[in-house]
């Protein structure tokens, strides 16, 4: 049994009078401990695939099963609980909360777990130490560089120790040196057993992953895929 099973996935949107097919019959299995990078041109359906795997976007057809849970059969509030327990999201443009400090941003997923402030702070400090930002815990996001903000976003995604890390263009706003540092961090995390699904434009990033898949017009391009 794979950690993530995507079966006959289809997603279409209404765009005016037209019906746009974003994903067409995608079948994909991702094993525990894999680092999968999803590549493809703009509009190929990469981000749509990520949001569907992340339980944020209901598919038109098909099924997403994570750890034997058919996530779109869950009631909405249970789906929210699933996201909290199973997934860590790293968004494009970092998506940090501007009025919360670095450590508060990292503690955000913990704030609804019922953990004490002491425990939350301890967990957040540990993960900030891990991404090298312990000293900047009390700063606001706009006082950090792009690379540092990305690392805060990674820390927030990992603080709950989720089994799956979903990253959408994590290096899209970073220079090449910082991108490499971030990708090195991803590789290290993966080597420690973290399952990662990453959407990227950058072919260089693919070299850090254990498997690369290509999407073209919403379909998996088997020829372009790499194991």
């Amino acid at each position: 049994m794979s950690l993530i099973e995507i079966r006959e996935l289809r997603k279409s949107y209404e765009s005016g009078e037209e019906r746009v097919l974003a994903l067409a019959d995608v079948d994909l299995h991702i094993e525990q401990g894999e680092f999968v990078s999803v590549m493809g041109p703009s509009g190929s359906g990469k981000s749509t695939l990520l949001t569907i795997v992340g339980g944020l976007n209901h598919p038109s057809h098909g099924d997403v099963v994570v750890d034997d849970i058919s996530i779109y059969e869950l009631p909405l509030e249970k789906l929210a609980d699933f996201r909290r327990e199973y997934l860590g999201f790293i968004f494009q443009s970092f998506q940090l909360i501007s009025y919360l400090t670095v450590i508060e941003n990292v503690m955000l997923p913990l704030s609804i777990t019922g953990r004490s402030n002491h425990e939350q702070t301890k967990m957040a400090k540990e993960i900030l130490e891990r991404v090298g930002l312990r000293e900047k815990a009390r700063r606001l996001p706009d006082q950090l560089s792009g690379g540092e903000q990305e690392r805060v976003a990674i820390a927030r995604a990992l603080v709950n120790s989720p089994p799956i890390l979903l990253a959408d263009e994590p290096t899209g706003n970073l220079d090449s040196k910082t991108s490499r540092e971030v990708m090195e961090l991803f590789r290290t995390l993966n080597e420690e057993g973290q399952t990662i699904v990453m959407v990227t434009h950058n072919p260089e990033n693919m070299s850090f992953s254990t498997r690369g898949i290509f999407l073209r017009d919403g379909r998996l391009d088997e020829n372009g895929s790499r194991s």
Partner: protein, 386 residues
Amino acid sequence: MKLKDISINNLRRRKGKVFFLILGLTIGITTVVTLISITRMMNEDISKKLDEFGANILIIPRSDDLSLSYGGMSFGGVAIDTQTLKDSDIPKIRQIEVRENISTVSPKLIGVIGTEGKKVPLMGVHFDEELKLKKWWKIHGNTPKAREEVLVGNEVAIQLFKSAGDVLSINGRPVRIAGVLDETGSQDDFLIFGDLAFVQEVTKKPKALSMIEVSAFCNTCPIEEIVRQISKQLPHAKVTAIKQTLQTKMEALDHFKKFSIGISVIVLLIGSLIVFTNMMASVNERKREIGIFRAIGFRKSHVVRIIFLEALIVGLIAGVVGYLLGLGISQIIGPILTGVKGGKWVVDPLLIFGAIFLSGLLGILSSAYPALHASKMDPTVALRSL
């Protein structure tokens, strides 16, 4: 970190908008507190006047045949000699349960006497008690001190060509006019007032009373309760509350109360609308943030709680500020609007908790739809980048 920390931090970030949010509710609460305080000031003033100006309970003998009118009330005891009230009834009035509310008890006996060839009503009173009741009396001359001294009503003095210091013959007994009343515009102008015991003697009605006037403090207990208790003590008497006293002013106060409620409701509605539009705008501005919350596992109820907590904090602050401002404004403009002097600054726990509760409640109610709207936001739409 808890959800409240997110709410507090967000409010801190949006100081300008939060200021207007608080201002909207504060204006509403200030208006309510001001109007309630002014109404209370007027109410207390009327109660005080009721206590100060004359009797508010009249005790007369039970009789089917009413023969004399006094102070707008009819009573028996003159024409038909219904002498059911006695001196001994006076201490009984002082024995009722709420006796601490009784200020003055003024017994009276009315008879008709012959003097200077004319028939004139003579009223026997205890001058000490009567003067407490009738603070508006202005006397030319002195208050009677001796048993054979009388006070003469203005009209009687004119008709008899008498003034203070002159001597009158009452049923053949000489009495000295200690003073003459200024015109009062009431029945008092047509009466001669003498010492009660003296009047009982000259009218040959020993220990008899025609009526008893009572002044009771109606501010602390309902006048009807005092009436009930006196009636119980004096079953042979008819006890009546004189409600016409300042009745017009009470009605005006009632109109003002209704007007205050109307104004308060309108201002509170406007305040709530300000909160609603502000919260709605805030929710729309925070789509991205709400998308992040939902994506990382916040339930809809968590999002609702964040919005409600913000509304509650705003409401509580507006409640406290509104109460203090309302209290201050009522002390300043209350006397100007009502002609009632500002009293001492009294912190009424019911009003302060009421103001804070109302403000918090309005904050939450006004934010209910924005909160629901926020919770229903599609995370993928909210997070446009995904």
